[in-house]
């Protein structure tokens, strides 16, 4: 079953612009993680935010978490062509259960 749903499904922007992707989920979580997948490759972990955190930064990435709305957003600032990939949110419900991935947002950054 799909716990997280990313929005939009696809996003196309110009290099240098910011990209924002959203993730909504259904049940309370222990933490939420964002992963990136380049075409034909495995997933790469980007950032983990715990349920008691509201915002985290990593380089050009900024993740927010609103547990009252059961949603998270991933912001990529000053995007580059190399950021072209699919981005997935994954939720961990109890700390001992497997991650559940959403369907992903496909980001295209045009040079």
């Amino acid at each position: 079953s799909q716990q997280g749903e990313e929005d939009p499904q696809a996003l196309s922007i110009q290099e240098g612009e910011n990209a924002t992707m959203n993730c909504s989920y259904k049940t309370s979580i222990n933490n939420l993680q964002w992963y990136r997948q380049n075409s034909g490759r495995g997933l790469v972990h980007l950032i983990l935010i715990r349920s008691n955190e509201r915002e985290k930064h990593s380089g050009r990435l900024r993740v927010t978490l609103d547990t009252s709305k059961k949603s998270s957003s991933l912001l990529i600032t000053a995007s580059r062509a190399a950021d072209t990939a699919s981005y997935f949110c994954a939720t961990d419900i109890t700390g001992r259960t497997p991650l559940v991935f959403g369907k992903g947002t496909r980001l295209s950054v045009i040079a």
Partner: protein, 114 residues
């Protein structure tokens, strides 16, 4: 540090044939996962091992899929017999300990069933 290794990278088989995938996790990682990723969707967990024991295989179609992790290191995932709907990318991942640890993914095996 070497990443998660998987082989083969691509496999094409006829329906009803058998196929096996191999995964070598990052050294020292106790937890190993097999995911199925159908085109346009996110990865779906098939089975999770902690060392050589199964933690979760609730979404593994056990009538045709099997997996093992001998000696708590390498793992193999087998499909016998394959169906058309098994066409997908099979991803192996590993993490140091718990399911909440960062997972490190291999490049995947793209399976096409004709």
């Amino acid at each position: 540090e070497a990443g998660v290794a998987q082989s083969p990278r691509y496999k094409i088989i006829e329906k009803r044939q058998s196929v096996a995938f191999w995964c070598n996790p990052i050294s020292g990682h106790a937890t190993l996962y097999w995911y199925q990723q159908i085109l346009g969707q996110g990865p779906k967990l098939l089975i999770q091992f902690q060392n050589n024991g199964v933690v979760d295989d609730s979404q593994l179609p056990k009538d045709r899929f099997s997996a093992e992790r001998l000696k708590g290191v390498d793992s193999t995932l087998k499909i016998q017999p394959a169906k058309l709907e098994d066409s997908a990318v099979y991803l192996c991942a590993s993490s140091l300990r718990l399911a909440t640890d960062t997972q490190y993914f291999g490049p995947g095996t793209r399976l096409t069933v004709l």
